[in-house]
Symmetry: C2
Subunit: 340 residues, 2 copies
């Protein structure tokens, strides 16, 4: 069990030691600790060792020169210069907020980035500025396109957020695979099983063995539909931005031959462009109506996307953070490890 | 069997007789016949009788005064004045193309519209102008939100298109329900069964009886994920535009108490804003890589979204159109029926 503030200082220290500025190390530490608080352990501290290894092997640039090209008042294009994904995404969401505030609609493309953790974390930042937002990113091969027996698409999340009129924003953050790859990865490290029906092994047989699933194929939601959505996200993130696409995003854990070159596309609109302040009244009404529906057995409440995550954050951020022993050991090694 | 051109003339005649201008009747006839050609019979001529009834009962306005409000060079807002959905969507996609060509990014919201048929039909028009496009629309209650035992969301399609570099555009047009409601409706009319696992009856039990399914609940894809996507589409189509939302879009077949007030949101970007002409090279490469993957048994090819529909269009548009007897009778009645 580690205190969150203390853990943040440790992460900053570890990343600074590897050449990152205080500002970039802080952005990264905040994102990693947020993942722990919302219960997305596969995107949290368990990844720190990998990030450090990538910096050491010069496939993450700890001192990136990020270029922001202004295409119009609404549109910007970012070359993240192989920064850690958190820093690229942080730059992108801030640029997006600025553009959208100015013109009502904003668009930011990013290339030469890396894994940035949870899309919902960035979407939330823009929603808190009263914007409606989408974030798309591609990822290393995990899902087989419909009809193929080889993985190619990443888990390619679709993330959408809007102010809800209440304290907890509406944030849908759904990968198009049946299960989050980070969850499989943590299960593999800890020797735990994964649920049935979410993955196949490398021979195309169903498996609950996390290690076998990592070498096999994750199943997309809804066959052709999920596969199509994953393909859309690859086009939006990779093809349009000049980033890697078509299965060429490198796996950050396994492939150190070069930077990942992940691509992102961030898009936002002002939700009151058409109907003014009525938007907040209407979204509140929408949520109220749906929450009042009769429920099926076993459901105490009907939740909107983002509610459960917010509850977990609120509960966990008051407590110390639990880290598996394996990961605590990593941390100690990383603090003690020589800087280069 | 009816010749397509002849059928188009008949549809135009029927709609003009009910007060529509030649131009609006032609727009509607084209959309209906396109649905027949692509094999989406649930969105085709089977709906004509319903449209005529709605005009007769004054819940579709055959002579709408459509207002287009320009919010910025990129953004427009359309009040469709309860026009038939085809005309509202046609106005919207043309406005969207204009806005996007001007600024690189365009957005059009629509309220007071109706069922517009296939999203892919409008997306294709913008893709042919070399744009990347999304269309969202809501629809009458068909899917229960996750945890609820009452339907509320429509089948709320997500439709995305982009130039593919080839003759056939990439168009993903996927409802978030396991099955298209139009298919269930046609099955119900013709007394046919629907596949297992796509719907529940009104008591929450699985059913393959199309009539029972219409009164029950359609299942969303992927549980909470599909439900969340349907909710997003309701917000985008209904909440933000001032149209009906939260289950208040009227069923066009069953509810004649007032106009449907469907909402749509159309969004587009120039796909070469970031990387210029390379976009076409890259999307071609993306598709080529994926099509070359090793296939699972039973797949002769890996298709990208839109390919199968294009094949059906190409095949069917060379032949006469088959109409079930029931629907042929409708047509005869509609031609003969008095104009008011």
């Amino acid at each position: 069990m580690v205190d969150g503030k203390k853990l943040k200082k440790i992460v900053i220290q570890i990343l600074k030691k590897r050449g990152m500025s205080l500002s970039h190390a802080t952005i990264s530490a905040n994102a990693l600790i947020n993942a722990e608080y919302v219960g997305a352990y596969g995107h949290g501290i368990s990844r720190l060792k990998m990030y450090c290894e990538r910096i050491k092997k010069k496939v993450i640039n700890p001192k990136p020169k990020i270029k922001i090209k202004k295409i119009s008042n609404s549109i910007s294009f970012i070359d993240a210069n192989n920064s850690i994904g958190f820093v690229a995404a942080d730059t992108a969401i801030k640029t997006l907020i600025k553009n959208t505030k100015k013109t009502g609609i904003g668009l930011v493309g990013v290339k030469n980035s890396g894994h940035y953790g949870l899309s919902g974390y960035y979407v939330e930042q823009a929603v808190k500025k009263n914007l409606m937002v989408w974030c798309f990113t591609n990822a290393p091969p995990a899902i087989a396109p419909y009809g193929a027996k080889k993985t190619l698409f990443g888990t390619n999340p679709i993330c959408f957020g809007t102010p809800s009129g209440g304290k907890v924003p509406f944030i849908l953050d759904t990968s198009v695979s049946m299960i989050n790859r980070g969850i499989i990865r943590v299960a593999a490290r800890l020797g735990k099983k994964i649920p049935a029906g979410v993955a196949l092994d490398k021979n195309g047989n169903p498996t609950t063995d996390a290690k076998k699933a990592l070498k096999g194929v994750q199943l997309p939601i809804a066959g052709f539909r999920g596969s199509g959505l994953a393909w859309m996200v690859d086009i939006l993130s990779g093809v349009i931005t000049g980033a890697a696409h078509g299965g060429k995003v490198r796996d950050p854990f396994d492939d150190f031959r070069g930077p990942q070159n992940v691509g992102h596309l961030f898009l936002a609109i002002k939700p009151h462009i058409f109907i003014g302040k009525n938007y907040i009244k209407r979204i509140k009404e929408n949520i109220r109506i749906i929450k009042k529906l009769p429920r099926i057995k076993g459901f105490k409440t009907i939740s909107y996307p983002g509610e459960n995550k917010a509850k977990r954050f609120s509960k966990n951020s008051k407590k110390k953070i639990y880290l598996p022993k394996e990961i605590e050991k990593d941390l100690k090694r990383l603090i003690g490890a020589p800087s280069k």
